[in-house]
Amino acid sequence: MNVEAHDRRFIVLMLAPIFLFLVFFYGYPTALNLYYSLTDLSLLGMKEGGTYVGLEHYADLLTSKDFYRTLWNTLFWLTGVSVVIRLVLGLGLALLLNSATLKRYRLTTISRLLLLVPWATPPIVAVVVWRWLLDGRQGMINKFLMNIGVIDEPVAFLANVNTVWPALITIIVWNTLPLVTLTFLAGLQSVPDELHEAAEMDGAGPIHRFFHVTLPHLMPSIVIMGLLLVFWTFNNFIYVWLATGAGPGLFTNVLATDIYIKGFVDFHLGYSSAVGMVMAGIMAIFGVIYFRLVALREFKDVL
């Protein structure tokens, strides 16, 4: 791989800015974070620095019940459930939008436009308005459910342990479902008609065609979308923080909010950094999956 000298200079010049950003905003802070996680640094004693405590924080984490619950909340509720729901609903909605019925009544375009509304809504605004809708005293949803007689007493959806996760997931789904739907819709529209026609000739019914023609064609999109949603949701801080503040109590605490609470509410930066390293470690595992499953194939000419 012998490149000419001016070619090499061009490559270095073009890559220099991005390389500097990687080093200063990813590499260096991660190394610093790792170092903090081995000390008892406090937010109040930043000047003095922390004392080296070795792996104490990690040992604490691995023996803490609260930490395992936070981990479970993050992996199961925040990420697992919400991603699966979005993939299933996104696929269903894309099929609906692509259906002959909607096309016949000319409802496809307006449906697409309406999908933009939640998508364009900033996550903070989404949380704010849903907090109002779900509010126990003044919430529209409570008034509606009481009027039609489903419930007798108002429910504080975001403060009740039975309803808080479904309510949180509703907010996340509302805000991000359109992107999933439109991505799958683009995939559906790229299925060659001949494939369907050929399957129909062979006597395949609609369900058979879905599983043997449509779904295999969409599979790459579903895998990528699923992984992107996992990254975005697992690392997300503001949905949980602004909707429930990790409450009631610490019932909906997730890794991202735990880092914030331990570091900036309890001032315990050393411990908070250790939680951060666990978080980065878990994402690194997903990173390997992503690299093997998606990147090597998608960028086979590049890598």
């Binding site: 990687l22 990813y26 933009l116 439109l182 790459p220």
Partner: protein, 286 residues
Amino acid sequence: MASVFTRNKEGGGHAIRRNPYATVALLVLTFLVWIFLVFPVVWILIGSVRTSETLFSTTSFDFTLDHYKTIFRAGFGRFIANSLFVCLIAVVISTVISVMASYVFSRKRFRGKRWLFGSVILGQMFPWIILVTPLFVLFAKIGFLNSYIGLIASYVAISIPFSVYLLVGYLESVPRELDEAATMDGCTQFQTLWTIVFPVMLPGVVATATYSFLLMWTEFLFALAFLTRTNLKTMPLGLVQFFGEQNVDWGAVMAASAVTTLPALMIFLPLQSKLAGGLTAGAVKG
């Protein structure tokens, strides 16, 4: 006339199988989906123009623009201007350096490329929240707290991985013969990139810049950590400020929400068709 045609065409072979109940069910379902999608935003708009007295009433409605006056008197205009300033500069920087890097990643072969490109796209799954403490310490040392330099640089940093991912995917669909022809005609590599390839990849660049803008426009955590002076705060911080722990001024919150959502929606409407397909385009083509 056109409608008659489409109807005839689609009616053809399927007419016998069409089940009226299924049609009605699908239409009802579509309608319910519409309500779910739009209702919260309609609710924001309605809430923002109702007087505080009638805000929670189910029977009466008094129109007012007081909430909008309240938020702008409280300096919300300043927050929007701050946000626009920070985001626009950061988007331009991030997009330009991502285009440069993507071009080299897509077109050149060099040692360490797999490693470097891999690092950049794996940056997509990096938990930014662990950057807050180290960057806070670093910025405190070099005086970047309460300065837009630190915030803008952080925003550029977090938008690079996804931008490079999208742009390299897009560049793979731009034929390499284009660059080769330009080089034959005597263009330098720099000229080839900016005068020949860049115009062709412009739709991808616009989509990428839009994603970056939305990411930064709503970014909350870095702004919260790095900006403490009120006159520097960005819009997400301004919005949350109306949202106290005890008593929430819902009218003001709704007005601020409406003002926050509008710019994003205006960017989305004309671009929507370009945004969705591009996300997994690289995967589908192969």
